[in-house]
Chain length 218, copies 2
DNA sequence: TTTTTATTTTAGGCAAAGCTAAATAATATT
DNA sequence: AATATTATTTAGCTTTGCCTAAAATAAAAA
């Protein structure tokens, strides 16, 4: 169990996000990391020497099996810390991402295991995203976009996309949270918006909101 | 509120540990940090440019007011995280130091404040060391070495020195914990050891153990 | 007070991680 | 197929932070 720099871990994370175990272009990686292409070329060269990625010059970079394993371990930490911050410390889901980006680099198997237990062995984080298991297995990705349901369906919100601060703010002002249940009242053929109702009334969700909110049918 | 590198923070911490707001020699600092003198010379030069320390070449380095403020903020984080690890995650007090050394560098006022609240606004960490307040005030340093009490005193353990793994192991095997109360049964004029008794029996504590265990009289 | 010893600083190197500018390869267009 | 455009890599520079070896300074001993 070698130890890696924060920068290395960020590259691994970005590669996993962009392509999973598939090749990723230098440019896409550069954009995601927020660095220039030339810096990325160097960085992946270093990662290649540690056998975390396979590099084909001018073609692309691809995580090795070990790289994927590491990426999942980091993602596990990230999502566990997010869960801690929201469930235990009372942060809002829009605030936790940058904090988890720092905490995910803390090096300690034992800490992760204990945190996992402390949080009640969660399968999903506060956004509903699956938390990788210790062994790398992934719990199911839950739900379908709200737009996919039809009038009369009873649904429960189970996941939201990380679509930026404004999106989370909108969720907050509309009082929409994971676990909420609604009835699909109507769907607009004009602008693809959806009307939901609950005990506390009914409201319309825009197409863009629907696309980033996932639910299951009850 | 500037942000500092981990290395910088470690120097600040070391300086505070070694001298508080008093000058510290290059050599002592080097030893504490675990780097060569030449590296330290450079490092403190950088810190000087950020007005965190005053440097007098060949003489010594001294934290500025701002440096002391930062040192206390880091110590606060360190001790809050140690408290979290022991109280919430069930780590043993001997395991938490290296973890807290990582966690203390996490950058977020809000996180520290929320953690503090979550832990019940503690004044002392699991070793009994005072946790600096938000504003830099220091709660009292508790207790006197066990060797300072006399036969007949009833005492409560309130603090232990961070005297290394073997010391903590010894505490564990002897089942000595913060909060335990004892009666001083006898003190040896020969080897300065002390006999303590509780409901579960009595035992002798060596001079070296006594020197690292602090208690208050009840 | 001079000399010896110990400490500290300078000088010069190395690796990580970023940058810009120039060169090269791959892709798209005519 | 030849050329133009876009993407990627190379080359060379910067900062942080560590290193070793040599020079300079301060402290201790003679």
């Amino acid at each position: 169990m070698k130890t890696h720099t924060e920068s290395e871990e960020n590259y691994i994370k970005a590669l996993y996000h962009l392509g999973g175990d598939q090749p990723v272009s230098n440019g896409d990686l550069a954009q995601r990391i927020g660095a220039k292409g030339s810096s990325v070329t160097q960085a992946v060269k270093r990662l290649g020497q540690k056998d975390l990625v396979d590099v084909v010059p001018y073609k692309g970079v691809q995580l090795t099996a070990e790289g994927v394993r590491l990426a999942k371990a980091i993602l596990r930490k990230h999502r566990l810390w997010e869960t801690f911050l929201v469930d235990k410390l009372g942060f809002g889901w829009e605030e936790v991402h940058p904090l988890a980006e720092q905490l995910e680099h803390i090096q300690s198997e034992e800490l992760v295991d204990r945190l996992f237990q402390f949080l009640g062995s969660p399968k999903h984080d506060p956004h509903g995203d699956p938390i990788p298991e210790r062994d790398g297995q992934m719990p199911p990705v839950l739900g379908q976009p709200v737009g996919a349901f039809v009038t009369g369906n009873e649904i429960r919100i189970v996941r939201v996309e990380d679509a930026g601060t404004e999106f989370f703010d909108q969720l907050d002002t509309m009082n929409i949270n994971l676990g909420n249940t609604y009835m699909v009242q109507a769907t607009s053929a004009f602008d693809a918006s959806v009307q939901l109702s609950s005990t506390s009334g009914s409201f319309w969700l825009s197409k863009d909101m629907c696309a980033n909110i996932y639910a299951i049918r009850l």
